[in-house]
């Protein structure tokens, strides 16, 4: 036999009990005037608690101004992120003609002897081939 239990009455009114538990509470409510009153009380209370938002006073927020602020916040979020120092330095060096000119000149200076050596070796090769050819005749 169930004794008066406030938590169980709350759960019963809240629909939070298993069917078998609900049957036990219902049997108790049928015989207990005090718990029956309690259940009626909670039913009214829960309804009010489900509608507490109506207690809030009217808001004086201006939707247009807030919409503008939200749009500005969105635009701020779309701005490119700050670039790292290494990336900036690389960009500056590669885009600066002073440095790119020097690099080209250095490249040319290094390339000239190599090209000259290549030409000399090619000439020597042709001469050797010519001698071989001349010998077979």
């Amino acid at each position: 036999m169930m004794t008066c239990q406030d938590d169980l009455v709350q759960m019963y009114v809240d629909g939070d009990l298993q069917p078998a538990e609900g049957d036990i509470v219902e049997a108790h409510l049928a015989t207990c005037e005090s718990c029956r009153r309690r259940a009626v009380f909670y039913k009214g209370l829960f309804w009010d608690l489900a509608h507490t938002e109506r207690f809030a006073p009217a808001s004086d927020l201006e939707p247009e101004a807030l919409a503008e602020a939200l749009r500005a916040e969105w635009v701020k979020g779309q701005e490119p992120k700050p670039v790292g120092a290494v990336a900036l330095a690389t960009l500056w060096f590669t885009a600066n003609p002073v440095f790119t000119g020097t690099a080209h000149a250095a490249g040319r200076a290094l390339a000239s002897p190599a090209q000259a050596a290549g030409r000399a070796l090619t000439g020597l090769g042709w001469r050797l081939i010519g001698r071989k050819g001349g010998g077979s005749r």
């Binding site: 938590d7 209370l45 829960f46 809030a56 808001s59 939707p63």
Partner: protein, 177 residues
């Protein structure tokens, strides 16, 4: 306009998206914040912050999922942060003792003002979990997730909160006689 269209418009930065987002949810966020905070200025400031955070996170929002659970979560989290900052005793260790339930009158009869005042006398966390339970109809586990409280604590706050409200309202009703 459904949530999907709202989210997609906001993700594109379309001005109509922000206007319609506010038209759909500003009042609900404000009223929920007011229920938690019981202060008009705080509720207004918090409402603005909720929407600013929503816009900052808009690209991570899934258009296929309803928007309100996200807004409710941000509203609850920001409210709890504000309350904890202002009310150092809003910890689990310093719960006020609930009075023992008393027998109350035959029929529930209280005014809106009385229940509003009785709610205002509850500890803020109790009020928040009660609101999430009854207004938002969330299961205990979801309330625990949103408030970052153990499920057992959530249940304790809910049962004690209701009992305390019942007692307060019964006392008020008794004083009218």
């Amino acid at each position: 306009m459904d949530d999907r269209a709202l989210i997609e418009l906001c993700q594109c930065g379309h001005p109509a998206g922000f206007s319609r987002l506010l038209a759909a949810y500003q009042d609900r966020v404000y009223r929920t914040a007011y229920t938690f905070l019981r202060n008009r200025e705080d509720a207004r400031d918090l409402t603005q912050e909720v929407f600013l955070r929503t816009v900052r996170a808009v690209n991570s929002l899934d258009p296929d999922r309803p928007l309100w659970p996200w807004l409710r979560r941000v509203t609850t989290n920001l409210s709890l942060t504000l309350l904890k900052k202002r009310t150092p005793h809003l910890s689990l260790d310093a719960l006020p003792e609930s009075a023992q339930p008393q027998d109350c009158s035959a029929e529930p009869a209280w005014t809106q003002l009385e229940i509003r005042e009785a709610l205002g006398e509850l500890p803020p966390l109790w009020r928040i979990v009660l609101t999430l339970r009854h207004q938002e109809e969330l299961p205990y586990e979801e309330i625990a997730r949103v408030t970052d409280l153990p499920v057992g604590t959530v249940k304790t706050y809910i049962f004690r909160g209701r009992r305390l409200l019942r007692e307060r309202l019964a006392l008020r009703e008794g004083s009218h006689r």
